[in-house]
Structure formats: structure tokens, C-alpha cells
Symmetry: C2
DNA sequence: GCTGAATCGTCAACTTGGTTGTCGAAAATA
DNA sequence: TATTTTCGACAACCAAGTTGACGATTCAGC
């Protein structure tokens, strides 16, 4: 069986983006089928940033690498959708504590499981060795050029 | 040397996105140093869609997977920046022919070379075999789940 | 303990890159 | 020829960011 020996450099980013996109699309397709139809990728990132322990609005902004004004808006949307609550911080009268609702926790759990399932799909297609090799290689490339901020993915190609 | 045997599923998309982002960031850093400081990722995609042979506005929209209204706007920006010209199509009085300027051609050529250089960096880090294996594996995963549209990347995580 | 500086969250106005709806002009088709 | 389609632009809107300003707290230095 013949195999291509070499590729153009521009194919690599397209393959990376395509694979990433495919995973995120599939995640949201499955989440939509499990009671989370109005989740956008942005919201998923923000919910991850809030985390099971909750956070203040400013802290969410810092974790996502966006302004606290942007964090305020996104948190407001998540609250409207029932994923989080906003309560007065008992320790700091300025701060608003953002906390996960059961719906939010459900989403995080399902996301974690679905990502594991998707990885299992990759293992079925490529074999376990190739998947771990791929992960190791990508980690190595990322490491070799200093830390790449992952938090602000949603808005970065603006 | 010890190696991690397994990872969580959620790490895979972060690795893919991180690697993609690193490449695009580096591309634009280098382009900025070579006479293209005001290029945004969106513009790069659009210039690719226009191509050396040019295209009509509607065709650009189709290639990018966006509305022709959106294509109109982006083409206007590229024209302002001197990357393309807009001329009447001699064969069709409705159509506007978008053509690459020398500046635009310069950008496309430099992008192609930079992407090749970046791939060479990966080969230095991972070895040629691992890079081609990675490309083959990603292509296989993408193939296994039908065609993933790559053209509309910029706006897709809206 | 006060006072000045920093931080918290919000409001308003703006930017970018999309969207839909509408439109007149031109081309394609029946 | 008459109808339908396509082309590109206009307007209005949306989503997710930005910066600037602000009152209300909290913190830090003296």
C-alpha cells in the first residue's frame, strides 16, 4: 500500500484545526442530545473556567483571559440558561460568587464522559499506541515553544 | 524514561487547539516581520479563498462557507489594505472580479514558505517519521467521520 | 484609624465578523 | 418574451469581545 511521503506545510494546521473542530462539533451534538441544546463552545469554556468550586466574576475573566466586563456578560447568559447562579460573596461585599447549578454540574460531567468516549473512538480508528504517541508528540511541540495560553481560545482568532 | 500511559479525553482537543493556535500565531508573527503587520487570521483564510486566479465575491463567500454579504465586507477590507482589487467582470455585468495585488501574492508566497518552515521545526523536534505519522493519523480520523468543512473555521466557534 | 490607591462588578459605547431581509440590475431559463 | 435566478450591495441586527467611566468596597501605608 502506497503512502504519501511528504506533505505541504500548510496541511498541518488544517489537519489540526479540522480534528479540533470535529471533536468540538461532536461534543456539542452529543450534549444537545443529552439535555444541553443551547450550549455554545464559548459557554463550555466558561463553565470549565468557573469549575465545580465556583469563582468570582473577575476570577472567571482572568481564567479565560478576557476582561471582567466580558466575563460579566457571559456569566449573565449562563445564569439565564440555568447553568450558574450569582450570589453575594459573604466575605467581600463587592464580589459576586458564581456557582454551578446541578444543571451546570451535569453538563461538566457529561462533557468529561463524552471527551473520553471520543478519545475511545480515536483509539478504535488508530490504535491505542498511535493516539498516545500523537498526544505525546503534540505535548512535546507545545512544550518546545513555551506555554501557549489555552484559556482564551474562543476569541483568539478574532 | 517514564512516560504517561494514558490521558483524559479532554486533553486531546486542548492539544490540537494549542498546536493549531501556536502555528497560526507564529505565522502571523513572522508575516508581521516581513511586511504584513495588519493581517488577521480571517484575512489570511479569505486570501487563500480568493487564490492566485482570483474569484467573484459570491465565489469567495461559497469557498469560505459564509454569506456573500459577509464576503463583500471582508473583500472590502482586503481591498482597503491593498491585498486585492475589485474590478468589473467583463463577461458578467453583475459580477465583481476580485484579483490579487502583488502585495497579496507576496503574502500568499510568504505564508506557504513559513508554513513549510514551521513544519521543518516540527521535524527537528519530533523527527520526520513522527510528523508524517501524525499527519497520516489526523487525516485518517478526519476521513473516518466524513468531510469536515475547513473553509469556515474563522467564524465557526461563534 | 484615616486616607489614598486598588479591586469588584456594572453600564455605556464601540469594534469585528458574522447573520437575515430587501433590493435593483443583469443573466439564465422556460 | 416573460419569469426566475443570481450578483453584489444596503440596512438592521446579533454575539462576543474591547475600552472608558463609575460607585462601592477593600486594602495598604502612615
Amino acid at each position: 500500500m502506497m503512502r504519501r511521503v511528504d506533505r505541504y506545510g500548510f496541511e498541518l494546521p488544517l489537519l489540526l484545526a479540522g480534528a479540533f473542530r470535529q471533536m468540538i462539533d461532536e461534543l456539542h451534538r452529543r450534549l444537545a442530545g443529552e439535555g444541553h441544546p443551547d450550549l455554545r463552545p464559548t459557554y463550555g469554556f466558561t463553565l470549565q473556567a468557573i469549575g465545580l468550586d465556583g469563582a468570582t466574576v473577575s476570577e472567571v475573566g482572568r481564567r479565560l483571559g478576557v476582561s471582567k466586563q466580558a466575563a460579566t456578560k457571559t456569566v449573565a447568559k449562563l445564569a439565564d440558561l440555568g447553568y450558574v447562579t450569582r450570589d453575594q460573596d459573604p466575605a467581600d461585599a463587592r464580589a459576586v460568587q458564581v456557582a454551578m447549578t446541578p444543571h451546570g454540574r451535569d453538563m461538566l460531567q457529561r462533557s468529561a464522559r463524552i471527551f473520553d468516549d471520543l478519545r475511545a473512538d480515536w483509539i478504535r480508528t488508530l490504535g491505542r499506541d498511535r493516539v498516545t504517541a500523537l498526544e505525546d508528540d503534540l505535548a512535546k511541540v507545545l512544550q518546545s515553544s513555551g506555554p501557549v495560553p489555552l484559556h482564551d481560545l474562543p476569541g483568539w482568532l478574532r
